[in-house]
Assembly symmetry: C2
Homo-oligomer: 182 residues x 2
């Protein structure tokens, strides 16, 4: 699974052959099928495992409660933590989910919509109580989610670009922009 995530990240799902994967784990291609049933199954595992990490994370944030500002802050941290914990598989998750088979794709898109709805609800409550500037919550949501997506593209665990500093920059840039100035 680790080797597959690395290959999917580097070459993409379609450009990764089962022979590539077999070579990475020092087996013959046919031997892989003693461990998995198909190439799709690997992709499904990567995509749904990571989707669960985000959903578990947002459930904890909702349960913890607190102000909308504190909740958004916690969600920014969630994204940073999830990426920091396993950059490789998150990159594959972010970029390759569209290669899921129709049925799995549907289910995946549903999970993502669920996540987005819950994130959006928190933004809305912050607008409602005056913490955040009014604005199209969809635009806000996607701008935030997208700027959090870059982290995987850039974050190199070995280089240790100081996770704390990343956190500070992201909080500063996004939270300040969100906050109501009056």
């Amino acid at each position: 699974m680790e080797a597959a995530a690395r290959l999917f990240r580097d070459k993409g799902y379609s450009a990764t052959s089962m022979r590539d994967l077999a070579q990475a784990v020092h087996l013959q291609a046919s031997s892989l099928y003693n461990h998995i049933s198909s190439k799709q199954e690997i992709l499904r595992d990567i995509c749904f495992r990571n989707a669960q990490r985000y959903l578990t994370g947002i459930a904890a944030v909702e349960k913890a409660g607190g102000t909308p500002l504190a909740q958004v802050e916690a969600l920014l941290d969630l994204h940073l933590d999830v990426v920091a914990e396993d950059v490789t598989s998150i990159t594959a998750f972010n970029d390759e989910w569209r290669h899921l088979d129709p049925q799995a794709l549907d289910e995946f898109v549903q999970l993502r919509k669920d996540y987005e709805n819950r994130f959006r609800a928190i933004l809305q409550s912050g607008i409602a109580d005056g913490t955040f500037k009014a604005g199209d919550t969809n635009l806000l949501l996607f701008t935030i989610l997208s700027s959090l997506r870059w982290v995987h593209d850039w974050y190199k665990p070995d280089r240790k670009p100081q996770l704390k500093q990343v956190r500070q920059t992201v909080h500063q840039l996004l939270l300040e922009g969100l906050k109501n100035s009056h």
Copy 2:
């Protein structure tokens, strides 16, 4: 070229076959080779044409001069305009450049680095003159570029999500976060 950009966007470069493309333009696969020399050539065309649009854009911003704030504002608009003008090919450009052959890939990465350096220089001048908060310019740069990237993922020309409103949200969120508060 349009049909190819659409297929690359929807299925990815590797998962798009020349037969897919041929069908989209009502030809036999072999007939495509009277117009292009290889599948790679199409990808190269898409990637470098769009790279040029950004480079031309930033050259104009540099030439126009003005305050760092005005320049960053103009760059945000550049990204929004480039996407609005041709969402399809920008998506392929954003997501599929990594499938370029080694030589073209090198050249492409150089162009991108050039663009990033020039964007970063503008951020730096804004920090130097106190307009922007101090911070790791790399982190700032990538957070900004990344949040601009989502637009292609979401922007549907037909739905007309009011380009003006997108502009306002992006400016508000990113420029307010950048600005020095004192």
